[in-house]
C-alpha cells in the first residue's frame, strides 16, 4: 500500500467514525433511569422544605441531577395511561414531590396505595411555586422508575 493510499484510507475511516458519532448523537434517546445510579437520595418532605426555604439554592444544587426520593404515597394520579405518584409525609393537599413515571414503567405504580412507603428515582424538572395559594408548591420529577438503586 502506498503512502497516499494509507492517508486516503485513514481520512475515510475518520470521516466514517465522525458520521457514525453524529448519527448516533442525533438519534440518541433519553436513558431509562432504571439502570442509572442516583446523584442524591433524599426524603420527600426534606426535599420540599429545601426548596421552600430557598428555591434558587436548592435548584442549583439539584439541577440536571437524578434523585431517589423516599416518602409516603399521598396519591396516585392515573390519567390516560400516565401515572404520577405524589409523595409527602402528610395527607393534606399541601406541598409534595410529584413523580411522573416513565411511560415504559407507568404500570409499576398501579399497585401503590395511599400510605405506602416507597422510593422513586427520577430526573428533577424543578420546583413549581404556587401562585394561587390553593394548591401547594411541588417539586417535580419525570422519567421516574420505582426503586432507588
Amino acid at each position: 500500500m502506498s503512502k497516499k493510499q494509507a492517508i486516503i484510507i485513514s481520512i475515510l475511516l475518520v470521516l466514517a467514525a465522525v458520521a457514525i458519532y453524529v448519527y448516533r448523537e442525533y438519534n440518541r434517546t433519553n436513558k431509562d433511569l432504571a439502570t442509572v445510579a442516583p446523584d442524591y437520595t433524599v426524603q420527600a418532605t426534606a426535599l420540599v422544605n429545601e426548596f421552600l426555604a430557598n428555591d434558587s439554592v436548592a435548584y442549583n444544587k439539584y439541577r440536571n441531577k437524578i434523585l431517589a426520593v423516599q416518602g409516603m404515597v399521598k396519591a396516585v394520579d392515573n390519567v390516560d395511561g400516565d401515572c404520577t405518584v405524589v409523595l409527602g409525609d402528610t395527607m393534606e393537599l399541601s406541598s409534595s414531590v410529584r413523580c411522573l413515571l416513565d411511560s415504559a414503567h407507568a404500570a409499576t405504580g398501579a399497585g401503590f396505595k395511599r400510605g405506602n412507603q416507597v422510593t422513586i428515582k427520577g430526573a428533577i424538572t424543578g420546583f413549581k411555586k404556587d401562585d394561587t395559594g390553593l394548591l401547594g408548591s411541588d417539586v417535580e420529577l419525570n422519567r421516574c422508575v420505582i426503586g432507588g438503586e
Binding site: 440518541r28 436513558k31 435548584y59 394520579d77 420546583f127 413549581k128 390553593l134
Partner: protein, 186 residues
C-alpha cells in the same frame, strides 16, 4: 307539612352550599404539547404535568408549567431546547394568567360543550405578552375539561433560533392544551 317544608328547605340550602363550594376546579396532570413544522424537520414535545386552576364563578384561569418537563423523542433536541432556546435554568417556568371573557355563556353545572374565549398574559422565557386564545370547555359529569389550540411566534418571546438552523426551524409554534379538571376542595 310545615316540618316537611322546613326539612326540604334545609336539604336545598345544604345542597346549595355544597354546589357553591365547588366553584374552583384544578389539575396538576394537564397535558400540553407543541409542534414546530420546519422545512426539514417537525419538532414535537409533550408535557404531562401542567397545573391549571379555573374559578367557574369569576372565569379566572391560571396555568403553570415547568419547562424542563417537556419530553422530546430525541435527547439532543431536549438538551438544545432547554439550554439554547428557552434557557430553562434561567427561566424555569412558563405561565398564563387570564380570564374566560365569555364566562357567563359557560354553564359549569350543565354537561355540554362550550366555546370559550380566554384573554390574559402568557409568560415564556421571561417575556410577558397579552394573548387572546379561542378554546373549548367541555363539562362532563360536572367536571370541566379545557382544550385549546393556538400559535405563538418564538420571536415574540425573544427566543432566538441559531443562524445555522434558521432555515429549518419555524418561528411559529402550535401549542395544544388538554386539561381535565377536578373540583378543588378547600
Amino acid at each position: 307539612m310545615k316540618k316537611r317544608v322546613i326539612g326540604l328547605t334545609s336539604v336545598w340550602v345544604l345542597l346549595s352550599v355544597l354546589v357553591t363550594a365547588q366553584d374552583k376546579f384544578f389539575t396538576k396532570n394537564g397535558k400540553i404539547s407543541f409542534v414546530s413544522k420546519g422545512n426539514i424537520e417537525t419538532i414535537t414535545a409533550k408535557h404531562k404535568g401542567i397545573t391549571a386552576v379555573v374559578d367557574s364563578k369569576s372565569g379566572a384561569v391560571q396555568f403553570a408549567v415547568l419547562m424542563k418537563g417537556f419530553e422530546f423523542a430525541k435527547a439532543l433536541m431536549q438538551e438544545h431546547f432547554n439550554e439554547n432556546y428557552v434557557e430553562s435554568d434561567k427561566y424555569p417556568k412558563a405561565d398564563f394568567k387570564g380570564q374566560v371573557t365569555n364566562n357567563s355563556e359557560v354553564n359549569y353545572a350543565q354537561d355540554g360543550s362550550y366555546n370559550a374565549k380566554v384573554k390574559g398574559t402568557l409568560t415564556i422565557h421571561g417575556v410577558s405578552k397579552e394573548v387572546e386564545v379561542p378554546g373549548k370547555i367541555t363539562v362532563k359529569s360536572g367536571k370541566p375539561q379545557l382544550n385549546a389550540d393556538f400559535n405563538i411566534l418564538l420571536s415574540d418571546y425573544n427566543i432566538k433560533i441559531p443562524a445555522v438552523v434558521k432555515e429549518n426551524i419555524s418561528n411559529t409554534v402550535t401549542i395544544t392544551v388538554d386539561c381535565a379538571l377536578e373540583p378543588l376542595k378547600n
